[in-house]
């Protein structure tokens, strides 16, 4: 898996084993800048975000502190260079890049691969947790 979390240039649609993982979510145009939407990906609730510079990220929609399916409804912001979503329930901040909690190193949400193909946002497999 790459460390890049998104690409707006990939046009590869050749079918490999990994290709089967990609789930189309919505047109990029349907996703407002600095906003999130909830998507159903292989039966799981996934929050898909678009940043101010049109990067697309995906995290599990489940807030790990409360267990509620709400992260897509959080406010997007920046801390230094890190882009985060603030949980709408108790305001913990999670990095969009990899799901790390910026306030509490013991918390993390799952992150997913994303890409944009022909103007369509797709969510891929759940990424393994990268070392701190």
């Amino acid at each position: 898996m790459t460390t890049s979390t998104s690409t707006s240039t990939s046009t590869s649609t050749s079918a490999g084993p990994d290709e089967l993982l990609w789930v189309p979510v919505c047109p990029l145009d349907a996703l407002a800048r600095e906003a999130g939407v909830p998507a159903l990906v292989r039966g799981e609730a996934v929050a898909v975000f678009r940043t101010h510079d049109d990067q697309v990220h995906a995290l599990s929609n489940i807030d790990p502190v409360t267990g509620a399916s709400v992260l897509s409804r959080g406010i997007i912001g920046t801390r230094g260079d890190e882009v985060f979503v603030a949980s709408p329930l108790h305001k913990e901040h999670y990095a969009l890049r990899d799901g790390r909690c910026l306030d509490d190193p013991t918390l993390r949400v799952a992150a997913y691969d994303t890409r944009v193909v022909d103007g369509e946002v797709q969510v891929g497999g759940r990424r393994p947790e990268c070392p701190q």
Binding site: V23, P24, V25, C26, A30, L31, A32, R33, E34, A35, V37, P38, A39, L40, A45, V48, T51, H52, N61, I62, P64, V65, T66, G67, A68, S69, V70, R73, G74, I75, I76, G77, T78, R79, G80, V83, F84, A86, P88, L89, H90, K91, H93, D103, D104, P105
Partner: protein
């Protein structure tokens, strides 16, 4: 445990609180490893919390007060004999005789026999119906006698007497207190404090007779009353004597031990009596000739004796006789030199007879040191003041600020005057010194690197202060600001890392430049892309100034989830829906519609404290359907989600109420419709009462309006919540038009100048000059802002549009109300409900130890 060589035996006479403490200390500190310990208690049960005796009535049984719930010590070297008296002490043989006939040898003997209630020698004191107040058996007997009785009288108005009076009140008796001294609690309180306490106690229905002696108890075979000196009578079927205590030193006297002039076994600083193998602790002892009638000194004595038996050098050198307690629900505290007996001592007194407050500070003749004090009605300053006496630190320049209520010249937080050991956060036991240390020195953070705490958030994270109930966050914040100001560092009022401006400054910047979007504001005055602090703040400022739809253009992404979905998010991610019901007035037809909507969508319904109906458990995709029906029935958004006007509560007013002097319902509706949708630094609530009876509880609101014969009184700056505040009178006897004008100015001034999430009460306190300053601005218009503030409010009123109607008419805005963007028909499986009391409740998810912030976030 037996051994071939007999171990020395320690005998403890008495198993009260102090005797128990002594045994505990002996076990904990290892004395029982070398000694066998025998404790002899005459009561039928092990030691219990006598201080909390009155709570026995509310307890499920004696066990609840027990200090030894298991009934025995879990050290085999300790033997506890209950229901057994020591009848004689033979110092020559080193034995004690027990009531069961046994004779017990000792190597060391500790007397912990406590004290007995003093019953004054008045005729009739032995009649049935006369009691003392000392043991659980006494309480059982009083309770039995109270059953058929209607009235009771307590002889003695000291600490214990008032406790006993409280017990009689709880038993439902008409209660009297008779005190020979001219005031209540004569040992702890001065005359004025005693008088204040009398008013509180009488307010609770207890009749107080001070400065009068008891002549006799009357009755044939049972008590029927008390005759006072001068012949007055108090009818009562129960009499409780609580006129002081006397040390129980009979055993010691009979054995020839030295006793103090006023009773009590005379002991030295190690609590050793005139016989080197005999010790005395607690109320039966008189270290240096003085007897201490509080449990804390007794505990100290117990520790000293165990220390001495272990060869230690601990000494008992007197005790702090400070007391703080809640008597009949009234805060009372007395500490240090409360009676100003120190030479040259000066007194500072604050007294408010109406509020029932009396506060006195005793300071040294140079005004530098606090020597003692008395607090009645509000003892919250005790935690700050008592350590100041103990530590002898210098008083601040204006010591009266320590006792003046905030807003009357008193420091709202008074952090500068707090001694280092003062507890700031009582939930997590964090002192001022702990906080300052964190500000001064670097500490390893969770990542292992060294960190300086530079702000409230960091302090909260590393000390826990303010992270539990949140009520001390204001104090922590003031402490941080004070600390950095003292270092000459400018205290940052920056909103967050993206804006160096405060909210008020940001408001001015946006107003002056006429910005319409977050992008414009952050590009010109900020850095980065914003966060969950500055985005909603800018959105709120834009809404106050421009009043366009909160979900318009790029504004939706700035809003907290409640504003973004125009509903209140609940713990499981579902939302609650609150339609506006202005003034709480609603037609039956509309009531039925709410019921039908709730029934059809399976929502939980609850009447709120603000006279609204709250519908819980709506999934995000259901919100538009629910609101379609509500809007069609004539409802509009109640703004329960926004930092905006929530409700204006009212009583029924003069149309129905026989006491009402004005039409409070009409006024509440008018005000709610006028200010609906007004975005503000924090949520706003109002109330209108139709007469001085104040049934709308208007003075607990940000603005309260109370009808008078001549018009309306306007109160401002009240709120409930974690730090409640009573609203204060801004102007009186106003006509309708003036009332609205002043309210327009007040609300707009607050909206423009308050900090983020600062409610009106702390905002008012933070204004230099407080309420008087606000009156100058709003009533006297000294800043010449009046017409501008009114115009701003007029613009708000003219541009109001119901937010939900606008959403329902706009497919773009509706598009956000889906469960999943790629499966809008599939409900989120993470949201599910169970049933409690015939209504739905969230099924999990469960909070995993999350701390829910209350009060003003840092």
């Amino acid at each position: 445990m037996t051994s071939t060589t007999p171990r020395p035996r320690l005998v403890v006479v008495g198993h009260g609180m102090v005797g128990h403490r002594l045994v505990q200390a002996a076990v904990e500190r290892g004395l029982s490893a070398t000694h066998d310990i025998v404790v002899v208690g005459e009561e039928p049960r092990p030691a219990y919390d006598r201080v909390a005796l009155t709570s026995y009535f509310a307890a499920s049984g004696p066990e609840e007060l027990s200090l030894l719930p298991s009934g025995s010590y879990d050290d085999p070297a300790v033997e506890l004999l209950l229901g057994t008296e020591v009848t004689a002490l033979d110092r020559a043989d080193r034995t004690v005789a027990l009531s069961d006939g046994r004779v017990l040898g000792y190597d060391q003997l500790v007397l912990a026999t406590g004290a007995a209630p003093f019953v004054p020698p008045v005729p009739g004191r032995d009649l049935d119906g006369c009691f003392v107040y000392r043991t659980i058996e006494d309480l059982d007997a009083i309770r039995a006698a109270a059953g058929p009785a209607t009235a009771g009288v307590v002889v003695g108005g000291g600490l214990l007497g008032l406790e006993a009076a409280n017990a009689l009140v709880q038993l439902g008796l008409e209660t009297h207190v008779v005190e020979m001294a001219p005031r209540l609690m004569p040992v702890q309180l001065d005359e004025a404090a005693g008088a204040t306490l009398v008013r509180h106690v009488e307010g609770l229905g207890v009749q107080v007779h001070t400065g009068v002696a008891t002549e006799s108890v009357s009755g044939a075979d049972r008590v029927d009353g008390l005759v006072l000196a001068g012949g007055a009578r108090v009818e009562a079927q129960v009499v409780v004597f609580s006129a002081g205590i006397r040390p129980r030193d009979a055993l010691a006297r009979a054995a020839g031990l030295e006793v103090a002039e006023r009773g009590g076994v005379l002991v030295d600083e190690q609590c050793r009596s005139s016989d080197e193998r005999i010790w005395a602790v607690g109320e039966c002892a008189a270290p240096g000739g003085r007897m201490y009638g509080l449990v804390a000194p007794g505990y100290d004595m117990a520790e000293v004796v165990v220390d001495a038996l272990l060869g230690g050098a601990g000494r008992f050198v007197g005790a702090d006789m400070s007391t703080k307690l809640k008597l009949l629900g009234v805060d009372v505290a007395s500490f240090g030199d409360a009676f100003a007996t120190t030479e040259g001592a000066l007194e500072l007194v604050f007294s408010d007879a109406v509020a029932g407050l009396y506060k006195k500070l005793v300071v040294s003749d140079d005004g530098r040191r606090l020597l003692g004090g008395i607090l009645v009605g509000d003892a919250s300053a005790y935690g700050v003041l008592r350590p100041m006496v103990a530590s002898g630190i210098d008083l601040p320049d204006n010591p009266e600020e320590l006792i003046l209520p905030p807003g009357r010249g008193g420091a709202a937080t008074g952090v500068a005057s707090l001694p280092p050991e003062a507890q700031v956060c009582s939930c997590n036991n964090v002192t001022k010194a702990d906080l300052l240390e964190r500000l001064d020195q670097a500490h390893p953070g969770p990542d292992g690197a060294e960190h300086h705490c530079e702000d409230v958030a960091a302090l909260k994270a590393c000390t826990g202060a303010g992270s539990t109930c949140g009520s001390c966050v204001g104090t922590v914040k003031a402490l941080v600001e004070d600390h950095f100001a003292a270092q000459g560092r400018e205290v940052s009022r920056a909103l967050c890392e993206h804006f160096a401006l405060s909210r008020a400054e940001l408001f001015d910047v946006v107003a002056i430049h006429g910005y319409r979007s977050f992008d414009e504001v952050v590009a010109a005055h900020g850095t980065g892309r914003g966060c969950d602090v500055c985005k909603p703040t800018v959105a709120s400022v834009l809404a106050s100034l421009v009043n366009e739809h909160v979900l318009g253009e790029q504004r939706a992404v700035l809003q907290d989830t409640n504003d973004a979905f125009l509903a209140n998010i609940q713990r499981n991610g579902s939302y609650s829906v609150v339609p506006r019901i202005p003034g709480g007035e609603i037609t039956p037809d509309k009531l039925i519609v709410i019921g039908e909507v709730a029934r059809d969508h399976g929502l939980y319904t609850k009447i709120t404290g603000g006279q609204r109906i709250d519908l819980f458990g709506a999934r995000v995709e259901e919100l538009p359907v629910i609101w379609r029906r509500l809007v069609d029935a004539g409802f509009e958004s109640g703004h329960a989600y926004g930092k905006s006007l929530r409700t204006v509560k009212s009583c029924v007013g003069s149309t129905w109420c026989r006491f009402g002097v004005q039409d409070s319902v009409q006024m509440a509706i008018d005000l709610e419709l006028r200010y609906r949708g007004l975005r503000s630094p924090h949520k706003l609530k109002g109330g209108v009462s139709g007469c001085a009876r104040e049934c709308a509880e208007a003075r607990s609101k940000d603005f309260g309006v109370i009808a008078t014969e001549k018009g309306w009184n306007l109160y401002v700056g009240g709120n409930g919540g974690a730090t409640p505040a009573h609203a204060r009178l801004l102007a009186g006897d106003l006509d309708d038009e003036t009332l609205v004008r002043y309210l327009d100015r007040y609300l707009m001034y607050y909206v423009r100048t308050a900090d983020r999430l600062q409610r009106t009460a702390p905002w008012l306190d933070s204004l230099e000059g407080g309420l008087d300053r606000l009156r100058e601005v709003v009533v006297d218009d000294v800043l010449g802002l009046g017409s501008e503030l009114e115009a701003a409010m007029a613009r708000h009123v003219a541009t109001y549009v119901d937010e939900w109607s606008a959403v329902l008419d706009d497919p773009d805005k509706l598009a956000r109300f889906v469960s999943f963007v790629n499966a809008p028909e599939t409900p989120d499986p993470a949201v599910s409900f169970g049933t409690v009391r015939e209504q739905i409740v969230p099924n999990g998810p469960v909070d995993l130890g999350a701390t829910i912030p209350v009060g003003a976030p840092a």
